[in-house]
C-alpha cells in the first residue's frame, strides 16, 4: 500500500504529474459540465469529443508532426465547427437537437477515420497507436509539459467563467429574459460552448474521446443532487471531477501490476460514477434512500389511518365502545392495506385501539376522537 510519504518520493515524480494533470482536468470539465447539464446539453460533450478526430487527423496530415499545439488547435477547430453546425441544423430545420448531435458526431468521426486510415496507409510516420490514444487517452504517459498546458488552459477557462459568471447564469436559466435585457445571448452561447470545447480538447489526450463525455456529465449530475445553488453546484462539480481525476490516476498506478496495465481514463470514469451513485442514493433531501424512507413512512401512516377508520366505522354499528370486533372482520375490510395485525398493535400502542378478548379488537375513546378529527381534516382537504 502506498502512503502519502511514498507518493512524494522522487521516483514517483511521473505519477505526481499524472495525478496533477487528471485533477486539473477533472476540475475544469466538472465546472463547465455543470452548465452543460443544466442547459440540457449533456451529450454535447460526447459529440464535441468525437468531432475532434478529423481535426487531429487533418492537422497531422498537413503539418506532419505530432506537436500537441497543432493537434489541439486542429481538434478545437473541428469540434467548434461541428458545434456550430448543430446550432445551424437545429435553428433552420425541424431536425431535433438529439438527431443533430448524432449526425454531427458520427459523420465527423467517420471523416476522421477516413483521414486517419488514409494517413496510416500512405505515410510511414504514423502508427496504429494514434487512434487508440485518441479514443482512450494515455493519462499514464502525461508529461510535465502536457500537464502545464492542461493547467494553463484550465486557468484560462475558469477565469473566463468567473468573468462572465452573471451572464452565463442568466443564459442557463432564462435565455429569453437575458435576450430582453439586451444581452447578446448568441454570442454568450458561442463563448460558453467554446470554453467547453477547450476543456474537452485538452482532456482528449488524457482520457480519450469515448470517456470525455462522462467527465463532463457525471460530476455535474452528482453535484446537482447536493444543492440548488449554481455557485455551489459548479464548485462541487469541479471538486468531484478533481477528486475522481486524482483517485483514478492513483488507482491506475496501484492496480497496474506488470504485465497488466489498466488504462487511467476508464478508472477515472468509474471513480466519478461511484461519486454519482453515492450522491443519487444519499444526497440530503433528493437522495433515493431518503425518498424511499419518506415514502415508506407515508404509506405506514396511511395504513394506520385506514385501520383506525375501519374500527371507527364498526363502532358506529354498536352502542357501546366495549363491543369487540373479530380480527378477521377488520382484516376483510382492509384488503390491500398492509399488515393489519401490525397496524392494530401500533394503534394499541398509541392508545387508540384495545383488545377486548383473544383476536377481538375495539376502538378506544381517544381513538374515536382521533378518527373523527382525521375525517374532518380529510374533508377539508
Amino acid at each position: 500500500m502506498m502512503t502519502l510519504a511514498d507518493f512524494f518520493r522522487p521516483e514517483n515524480y511521473p505519477l505526481r504529474v499524472v495525478v496533477l494533470g487528471c485533477g486539473a482536468l477533472g476540475l475544469v470539465s466538472g465546472a463547465l459540465g455543470a452548465f452543460a447539464v443544466l442547459r440540457k446539453q449533456s451529450l454535447l460533450g460526447d459529440a464535441i469529443s468525437h468531432a475532434a478526430l478529423p481535426g487531429v487527423a487533418l492537422a497531422f496530415l498537413l503539418t506532419q508532426t505530432k506537436e500537441p499545439v497543432f493537434l489541439l488547435t486542429g481538434a478545437a477547430l473541428a469540434s467548434w465547427l461541428g458545434t456550430l453546425l448543430v446550432m445551424v441544423i437545429v435553428r433552420y430545420t425541424r431536425i431535433k437537437y438529439d438527431a443533430a448531435l448524432g449526425v454531427m458526431l458520427s459523420v465527423f468521426f467517420g471523416v476522421g477515420l477516413v483521414v486517419l486510415t488514409y494517413i496510416q496507409n500512405h505515410s510511414t510516420k504514423a502508427n496504429q497507436a494514434g487512434l487508440r490514444n485518441f479514443l482512450f487517452g494515455q493519462a499514464g504517459t502525461l508529461l510535465l509539459s502536457d500537464v502545464i498546458v492542461i493547467v494553463e488552459l484550465a486557468a484560462l477557462v475558469l477565469l473566463v467563467l468567473a468573468l462572465f459568471w452573471k451572464e452565463f447564469k442568466l443564459l442557463s436559466f432564462d435565455p429569453d429574459y437575458a435576450a430582453t435585457l439586451g444581452y447578446p445571448i448568441q454570442l454568450l452561447d458561442v463563448l460558453l460552448t467554446t470554453l467547453l470545447v477547450i476543456a474537452i480538447v485538452t482532456g482528449l489526450q488524457a482520457v480519450g474521446a469515448v470517456l470525455m463525455s462522462a467527465l463532463i456529465i457525471a460530476p455535474a449530475a452528482a453535484a446537482r443532487q447536493w444543492t440548488d445553488r449554481l455557485g455551489v453546484m459548479v464548485v462541487l462539480a469541479g471538486l468531484f471531477g478533481a477528486t475522481a481525476g486524482v483517485a483514478g490516476g492513483l488507482l491506475g498506478d496501484l492496480l497496474s501490476v506488470p504485465p497488466v496495465a489498466l488504462p487511467t481514463g476508464p478508472l477515472v470514469v468509474l471513480c466519478v460514477s461511484a461519486i454519482v451513485i453515492f450522491s443519487l442514493l444519499l444526497a440530503p433531501n433528493r437522495g433515493l434512500v431518503w425518498n424511499g424512507l419518506r415514502e415508506m413512512a407515508r404509506r405506514r401512516q396511511l395504513q394506520l389511518e385506514a385501520i383506525l377508520d375501519h374500527l371507527y366505522q364498526l363502532s358506529l354499528q354498536h352502542e357501546s365502545l366495549d363491543h369487540g370486533h373479530p380480527f378477521a372482520v377488520v382484516r376483510s375490510m382492509a384488503v390491500g392495506q398492509g399488515n393489519v395485525l401490525r397496524s392494530l398493535k401500533e394503534l394499541e400502542a398509541r392508545g387508540w385501539a384495545r383488545r377486548t378478548g383473544p383476536s377481538m379488537w375495539a376502538i378506544t375513546e381517544a381513538g374515536l376522537e382521533e378518527a373523527r378529527r382525521r375525517r374532518i381534516v380529510r374533508q377539508q382537504e
Partner: protein
C-alpha cells in the same frame, strides 16, 4: 468488379438498410442518441459473454451484447424516472460506465485475446466475406486471402455465402416485419403517444420492442461496420429523409434507399483504387455529404429554402405594413405629410434604403403607385390587401 467486391457491397447495403429502418423511429421519437449509448454498451455485453463461453465465435456473444443494449435502455429510463437527472444526462451517465467496465475487463484479464476495442468501434467490413456460412464441411478461407481479391473455395460442403450477409439479412427481415406488422401502431405511438395510450395500445410495449430491435441491429452491424458507424447509419439517412418528405412511409423508404446508396458509394470511395482508406469511415463520410447536400438544397425544408422563405415573408410583411400605413392615413388631413416615401423612416422606423426597396417591390406588385414628389397612393388591390389584413372585409 470481382465477386469479392460484390459480396462486400451486398453486406454493406443490407447492413445499412437494416440500421436505417429502426433509425427512422429513433429520429422521430427523439431517441437518436440512444443508438450511441447502445452501440457503446455492446462491448460490455460481449466481454461478459466471453467470460462465460471463452469462445469468440459463440452466438452467446451476440445474445450478451443484445442483453447489454436492453440493460442500457432500462438503466437510462430507470435513472430518468427518479427525476434526479434529465434524460440526456441519464444517457451520458450510463453508457460510459458500461463501456469503461468493458475496456477495463479487456485490458485487465483478456490480454492476448483477439478482442480489441478498435475492432468494436471500427469493424472490418472488407474481411466480412471470408467468414463463410458452409453446410457440411469447413471453410478454408481466412482474412489472409484478402489481398488476392477473391473468395477462396471451401473444402467440401455447400458454400452459402458470407455469414454476415445472412446475419444482417435476417435482421433486415426482422426489422421490416416488425415495422410492417405494427406500422399503424408505431405511427400513432410516435406522433401522438397519449392518444395511443388512450386508445388502448401499449406505447411502452412498442417502445421496448423498438429498443430490442435497435440492440439486435447494432450488435449484428457492429461486427461488420463498427459501433460508431452503426450510429451514423441509424441516424444520418433517416435525418436526411426527414428533410425530404412529410410522409412516414416515404421517409422509411428514402432512409433505406439512402443508406443502401451510402453502402455502395462508401465502398468505392474507400477502395484501394480510390482513397484506400477504411470503409466504415467512408460510408459515414458519404452519409454526411448526402446530409449536407439535402440540408442545404432540400426543396421545402432545406436551409436555403427556409432562408428564402423567411426573406420572402419579411418583404411580404413590410409591403403589407406599408399598405396598412397608407390605408390608415389616406383621405385624412395629414395624408400629404404621412403618405410620402421620406416619411416612412420616421413612422415605421425603416431606414431609407429599405423603405425605397419596399416601395419598389410593392409598386411592382401593383399594391401602390409612386407619384411626383415621393407621394404614395394605394391602388385598388393595395387597398383590398390592407382591408383584408385589418379584417375590415
Amino acid at each position: 468488379m470481382s465477386l469479392l467486391d460484390l459480396e462486400v457491397q451486398a453486406i454493406l447495403v443490407v447492413t445499412a438498410s437494416a440500421c436505417a429502418l429502426p433509425g427512422v423511429f429513433l429520429v422521430l421519437r427523439r431517441l437518436a442518441l440512444m443508438s450511441d449509448a447502445i452501440s457503446h454498451s455492446i462491448l460490455f455485453g460481449i466481454v461478459l459473454a466471453f467470460f462465460i463461453t471463452r469462445d469468440l465465435s459463440s452466438p452467446l456473444l451476440i445474445g450478451g451484447a443484445a442483453l447489454a443494449g436492453i440493460v442500457t435502455v432500462l438503466l437510462v429510463e430507470g435513472l430518468h424516472r427518479t427525476r434526479l437527472v434529465k434524460e440526456d444526462a441519464a444517457i451520458g451517465l450510463v453508457f460510459p460506465v458500461l463501456f469503461c467496465i468493458g475496456v477495463l475487463l479487456i485490458s485487465g484479464f483478456l490480454r492476448g485475446v483477439h478482442l480489441d476495442e478498435n475492432c468494436v468501434l471500427l469493424g472490418k467490413p472488407e474481411f466480412a466475406p471470408f467468414n463463410r456460412l458452409v453446410i457440411g464441411g469447413e471453410a478454408t478461407a481466412s482474412a489472409e486471402h484478402a489481398d488476392h481479391g477473391h473468395v477462396m473455395p471451401t473444402r467440401g460442403g455447400i458454400d452459402l455465402g458470407p455469414k454476415s450477409l445472412w446475419v444482417m439479412g435476417i435482421i433486415l427481415i426482422i426489422n421490416l416485419t416488425f415495422i410492417l406488422l405494427f406500422y399503424k401502431e408505431l405511427k400513432l405511438a410516435t406522433f401522438d403517444a397519449s392518444l395511443a395510450a388512450a386508445l388502448g395500445f401499449a406505447p411502452w410495449l412498442l417502445h421496448y420492442g423498438l429498443m430490442v430491435l435497435v440492440s439486435i441491429t447494432a450488435v449484428g452491424a457492429f461486427e461488420t461496420v463498427g459501433s460508431i458507424l452503426v450510429v451514423a447509419l441509424m441516424i444520418v439517412p433517416p435525418a436526411t429523409a426527414y428533410l425530404l418528405t412529410d410522409r412516414l412511409a416515404w421517409m422509411i423508404g428514402f432512409s433505406a434507399l439512402l443508406a443502401a446508396l451510402c453502402g455502395v458509394l462508401g465502398y468505392w470511395l474507400a477502395h484501394p483504387r480510390m482513397l484506400d482508406t477504411c470503409i466504415s469511415g467512408s460510408m459515414a463520410t458519404v452519409a454526411g455529404a448526402m446530409f449536407s447536400l439535402v440540408l442545404l438544397f432540400a426543396p421545402q425544408r432545406g436551409v436555403l429554402a427556409v432562408l428564402r422563405r423567411r426573406q420572402q415573408q419579411r418583404w411580404d410583411f413590410a409591403q403589407l405594413m406599408l399598405a396598412i400605413h397608407l390605408f390608415n392615413h389616406e383621405k385624412t388631413a395629414d395624408a400629404e405629410r404621412e403618405n410620402r416615401i421620406d416619411h416612412l423612416q420616421e413612422h415605421l422606423n425603416w431606414d431609407p434604403r429599405f423603405a425605397r426597396r419596399v416601395v419598389r417591390r410593392a409598386e411592382r406588385r401593383g399594391l401602390i403607385r409612386l407619384e411626383e414628389e415621393g407621394m404614395l397612393r394605394l391602388t385598388t388591390p393595395g387597398r383590398a390587401a390592407a382591408e383584408q389584413a385589418l379584417q375590415l372585409q
